[in-house]
Every structure is written in structure tokens, then in C-alpha cells.
Symmetry: C2
Subunit: 376 residues, 2 copies
DNA sequence: GCGCGGCATGGAACCGGTTCCATGACGAAC
DNA sequence: GTTCGTCATGGAACCGGTTCCATGCCGCGC
């Protein structure tokens, strides 16, 4: 039988007539090896078809060459680009990426506990997941480097966006089109928890709502509590919420949904109710997931792919031993006008629309409790 | 400092006053350990906060507890559910899942070569990716178990669907609604390769086209080559292709797109051209991705999540040492009628629509070169 | 009372690398 | 010619578990 037993480093050493240390140096490209020796060893490696054991290397070096990424609700469209961005960077840096998908709190706790185990992962990236103090402490004590994406964890490098500013931008854009009665559709914590879903999106929904309110206040526009509808996450629920808004005696002329998925539910409600978009109703989403472009949905673009890539880059920096400062990294947002928004029927305004369309309004961005930083 | 050095098994043994072998037995729940000893060791483990080294365990046992999943174009909506299904099963079975996203042939080759390395992965799942003979041979020789999803690889367990039958079902459904001029929009290999994209979707597009043709022949319907349009993958391209169909002097009353993403492009073209769906044009997709439901797109449902889960289950079976027979596992398809299809305007027919709507037509399924098997 | 089987146990060998230290050869400087 | 430094090299120790084998103790049967 040709491959009775895979060759190990000692076999190569014997075949090349050298010591194991020399073979190791050749493999790792160490400097102090005579050229002729290197060639001899190289030949022996090829002749025996030798491949180093990934496990043995990792064990000797004392650290696995794999990082784990914990994501909630993998099927949710906004997390996929984040994951893809992280995978691209990690792959390029030579790391294996262990992906942990999490749909329930139990799964989250299970994976987080497991990942703090010894020699489990060189580092961990968590996406959109809140950690309990105990869990964060577990990471600290186990010495497993941690970075967060779309979630603030004290003492941990995190890559986020300013959702409050985003809420202001979306609402400000609608205001600039002349809309004054602007509805909001988003999700609640309570409903989300009751449905067994994690807090994915909740925190951001809450902050985007805050931005919505700030923009309305700043513009002196109508702030009718009846125009704010919140319920469990998901397009189907959003559709029901939007239907409620459209059934009002004096319905809004525009709706800002806290996410593109929910905005798609709003579009469905409009379609079902015979309300023309954007003729009678403007709809604004958030995230700029792939479907948004396909459906012509106006939205706030969030750098999803880039957020994953940046998180991964920062983790790699930590793994190299670099200090990552500042901990907070904030990616910018951008208004993306498409065909779901239009000036309010019969209204004036729409003067600043062209301006707002292609860049984030720095004046608006500057308002509020959160800093509006750039990259790094 | 409290944690100067993580405890290892020898420390536990010393603390408990036993040998390392005994500690190992306690950890792994071996039978021959006196109860009092077990308790002592257990206490020592907890007192020292001992956690076994994942790497050392894997190295000793001779196999990593991780499997790799190679997927093309992670951002493509149809692969995400497949991945999620596989992750769910693997996680439940206690495996780490290393995800390799592949966007170019070079990346594919790189990952496949790496994964055959020694102690790299306990097994590998490839999704929608063709392997060269050399690559398949590499897996065989390296002894790395391999299973395929949505791709036939000789000698390797694979979980697939009958795309030809699916093409027949989609076209047959449109025929049952009375449509006779039915267009096809799909992708080509040439265009895909030119764009640097992999063969993702191409092979299935080709087979779905074959089913389309079979159904037309069987129904004695119009088979105009001008109604078949193929180009690079992606909704934007599909939109252009569909626009071409709609601009024909005698345009089709229905279009079958080889995938939901392309169908969404068709919908966009209809929208842009002022063609009412389903009033003037019926549109049929394939896959049943999440967006399809949101947009009311009629489609052929493929069990995407389940395909990933089944592939993972079969890999686990191989890893347990079970023989997996037969190699081919075929998942069923289903017509999902939504609001993008309607009886042809002014037509009779639509008699069998209700029937076809909820179940695959077994008569149609039986035709053609491929077997129509069930699960397992 | 003695021999034997079985069970709990200790510990060495092993998984397959990396790394550090000791060694020997060689050239340069004195 | 001798000594010292440098460089290539061999090989043992180590990473942290699992596993197998030898050992000792015990109880049982004769």
C-alpha cells in the first residue's frame, strides 16, 4: 500500500539525513540553513509527500490558528455581509474561521462558554450580541482576545455605527422632501424576547427611533405618538404595523422603518392597501441590504461588509500584540435615495434633497450624545 | 497573580493525589473509576479551574474536532440557508465548523488544497462547487472524508435536487395556467467564467433550462429559441435579458427565471417597462429564497436549509465510520404559487392550477434521465 | 492458606510538531 | 598556531492530552 502511514517530520529528517530541528527550520523558512541542506530537505519533503500536522503545530506554538465568529440569526440578511467581510480578512491573514450561528440565548451562552476554553480559538469576534458581565469576565480571565461588531462591550474593541445619527439622517431626508407626518416602524425588546429571539436589532432600532425623534424635534415637525409603531422583528410584523399606520384617519405621508427587512414589510402593506409608493407614501429603510437595491428601496447605507472586515482586522492586530486604540471605531453612514421616496404630494420643499442624497449631513451627524468619528 | 499559568492535567493529578490517567478517565467519563476518586478529582478540577486543551485532546486522539464547509459566494441568498442548516447539525454534533467562503477559482483551489492537509479538518463539505479530478484524488489520498451539496462528485456522497424536474414543474405550472409563450431567463457558463465568477448556479441553470424544454415539448407548446435568454448571473443582468424579451413584437406572457435572484431582475424589468405582474406577465422563480416570499414571487421551493443539514448529517455518519448508501440523496421540490403568476389573460385553462400548487407533480418528476428519489 | 481473576490506578510512551541549548566546524584575528 | 566568535546542526525537552501496560490490592474459590 503506498500510503501506509503519513510521513511525519522525523521521517523527513531521516530521509534527508538531518535532524528534526533542521527540517523544522526549512519548513518555517528560518534563516540559518545552508542552501544545499535546504534543497535536500525540500526534496525529501516532496518525495514523502509530507504535510505538517496542523494540530501539532498549533499545540507546539501554544495557540490555535483559528478564530471564532459568533453571529446571531445567520439567515438575517444584514449579518451575512458582516460575516463575509470578516471571513475575507481572516482568510487572507491565514486564519481558519470557525462560525458559530446563534438563534437562541441558550446557544449563545453555550458557544461563548465553549470558546473561552483552552486552546479553542486564538480570538473571538462577536457580532450584534450583548455579553453579560460574567461572560466578558470569562473572556478576560481566559485571555481570549475579543472584539465586537455592532455592539458596545466595555473594555473591548468594537466597530459600530452611530444609529442615532442614522435615524436623524433618514428622518431628515424625509423632512427635506417636505414630509411632515412621518411614521416609524421598528421592533421592541419585549416582543423580541418573548419570541425567543435575541436582542438582534433591538438596540439599534431603539437608537434609530431616538434619532427619528431628534430630527423631528429639530425640525419642529409633528411628533404624534400614534405614528410610532413597534412590534416583534420581521417583515410580516412590520407589515401589520404599517397597515395600522395606513389605516389612520390622517395617515403619514412617509414611513421610516428601523431596518430594510421591516421596510420591505411596509412596502408590502402599502401594496396590499393600494397605497402607491412613492406617489402617496415614501418609505425609508436602514442597512442597505442586497434586496433594498433590487426593490428600489431608499435607505441609510451601513457599511456591513466593511464592519466585518474591520472587526477582523482589529482582532488580527490584537493577536499580533498591537494595542488597539481607540477601542471605539465608528463607520460612517450614507443616505441612499432610490425610488421608494419622493417629495410630498403637492408640497414645496425637496430643495435640499439632491444635497442630502449623496453624503451624510455632517451638521446633523454632529448632534447628539454619540461622537461621529471616522474610520479608526 | 491568580492565574499565573493555566492548570494542566498534571496539575490536577497532583492536586488530587492521583495519576494523570485517572484524571483523564474522570474527564472522559470512563467506567473504571471508584466513586470517591471521581469526586476527589472533580473537586480538584473545579478548584483549579482546569479546562482541557482542545488542541492537545485533538492531537492525542489523532483527529481534529472541526469540519470545514466550503461555500461559493456567501452573499448569494441561496447558499446562506444551506450553510445555516449545516452549521446547526454540526454544532449539535459537537463539531466546530470552519467556513471557507470562495469567490474566485484561485480561492477555491487554495482552500481545497489547504483542507486536505494533515489534521486540518475531520471532514469537508463542499457546496455547489465542482472539483477537478486531481482535487477529488487529493481528498481520497489524504483520507479526508468529503460530502457534496448541490453538486455531483463521483464516489462522494452528495445531496442534490432534480433540477431538470424542477424546470419541468415550473414550466408545467405556467402551462397549466394557460400560458403558451413562455420565456426563459438564465445564466451561461461562458459569461460566468468571464466575469471571474465560479460555476455557481450555472450547472443548475442549464438543467432547469432542459426541464423547461422538456415540458414545452411534452405540452406541444411553442418552442421559440428567441424566448430563451441567457447571460451572466445576477439580477441586473437578468433585468436586461428580461427587458429584451418584453421588447419583442410578440412578447411572452410568462417568464421562468432559473433562480429567484434572476426572477427579481425580471420583476424589475417588468416594473420599469410598465408591464403589470401578474396581469400581463407571469413570473416564476426557482429556489424560494427569503426575498421571494416578501415579494410575492411564485417559485419552485428547494429545501435549502435541509440540504445543508442533510449533507452535514451524512458527513457525521461517515465520520462515525458508517457507510453512506446510496451516495446520491435527492431532496424533493415543490411549486409555491404566489402573486407573480396568474392565468393567462383571456385564456381558459388554470384548471389544474390548484392541484399543481401544493405538490410536486409526480408524473412529471418521473420523466427524464435523472432518478427521482426521496430522502436517503 | 494459596492461587488466580478483576478492578482501580500510576505512569511511560505517544501524538507531531517547535524551540532552545550544546556541539562541532570553520574562519578571522592576534 | 591558538583562541574566540559565528554559523549550521542535532537532538532533547516541551506543548497537554490519551492510551496502554504493568502493578498492587482485593476477594473469591478450592
Amino acid at each position: 500500500m503506498p500510503p501506509p502511514r503519513p510521513a511525519r517530520i522525523a521521517d523527513v529528517a531521516a530521509a534527508a539525513g538531518v535532524g528534526v530541528g533542521t527540517v523544522s527550520r526549512v519548513i518555517n523558512g528560518a534563516a540559518n540553513v545552508r542552501e544545499s541542506t535546504r534543497a535536500t530537505v525540500q526534496q525529501a519533503i516532496e518525495r514523502l509527500g509530507y504535510r505538517p500536522s496542523h494540530l501539532a503545530v498549533a499545540l507546539s506554538r501554544g495557540t490555535p490558528r483559528a478564530v471564532a465568529i459568533v453571529v446571531p440569526h445567520l439567515t438575517s440578511p444584514s449579518v451575512v455581509p458582516r460575516l463575509a467581510g470578516a471571513l475575507a480578512v481572516l482568510s487572507e491573514q491565514g486564519y481558519d474561521s470557525v462560525v458559530c450561528n446563534v438563534d437562541t440565548p441558550a446557544q449563545r451562552d453555550h458557544h461563548l462558554a465553549a470558546l473561552t476554553g483552552r486552546h479553542r480559538a486564538a480570538g473571538v469576534i462577536v457580532v450584534s450580541l450583548r455579553l453579560s458581565a460574567a461572560q466578558a469576565e470569562l473572556f478576560r480571565r481566559s485571555g481570549t482576545p475579543l472584539v465586537a461588531i455592532d455592539m458596545v462591550i466595555p473594555g473591548v474593541p468594537h466597530t459600530v455605527t452611530d444609529d442615532v445619527a442614522g435615524g436623524r439622517m433618514a428622518t431628515g431626508y424625509l423632512l427635506s422632501l417636505g414630509h411632515r407626518k412621518i411614521g416609524f416602524v421598528g421592533d421592541t425588546m419585549r416582543g423580541a424576547a418573548a419570541a425567543g429571539r435575541l436582542l438582534l436589532g433591538f438596540a439599534s432600532s431603539q437608537r434609530r427611533l431616538a434619532g427619528y425623534r431628534q430630527a423631528l424635534v429639530a425640525a419642529g415637525a409633528d411628533q404624534d405618538p400614534a405614528l410610532v409603531r413597534r412590534g416583534p422583528h420581521g417583515p410580516a410584523n412590520a407589515e401589520a404595523l404599517a397597515a395600522g399606520l395606513l389605516a389612520l384617519p390622517d395617515p403619514p405621508t412617509a414611513i421610516f422603518a428601523a431596518s430594510d427587512r421591516q421596510a420591505i414589510g411596509v412596502l408590502a402593506a402599502a401594496d396590499r392597501g393600494g397605497v402607491k409608493v412613492p406617489g402617496e407614501l415614501s418609505v425609508m429603510g436602514f442597512d442597505d441590504i442586497e434586496s433594498a437595491a433590487l426593490m428600489g428601496l431608499s435607505t441609510i447605507r451601513q457599511q456591513l461588509w466593511e464592519s466585518g472586515a474591520e472587526g477582523a482586522r482589529r482582532l488580527c492586530a490584537v493577536l499580533r500584540g498591537d494595542r488597539v486604540v481607540p477601542l471605539r471605531q465608528q463607520l460612517s453612514l450614507e443616505v441612499v435615495p432610490r425610488s421608494s421616496t419622493a417629495p410630498v404630494p403637492g408640497g414645496r420643499a425637496a430643495r435640499a434633497a439632491g444635497h442630502l442624497a449623496t453624503t451624510s449631513d455632517s451638521a446633523l451627524t454632529g448632534i447628539g450624545p454619540q461622537d461621529a468619528g471616522g474610520h479608526q
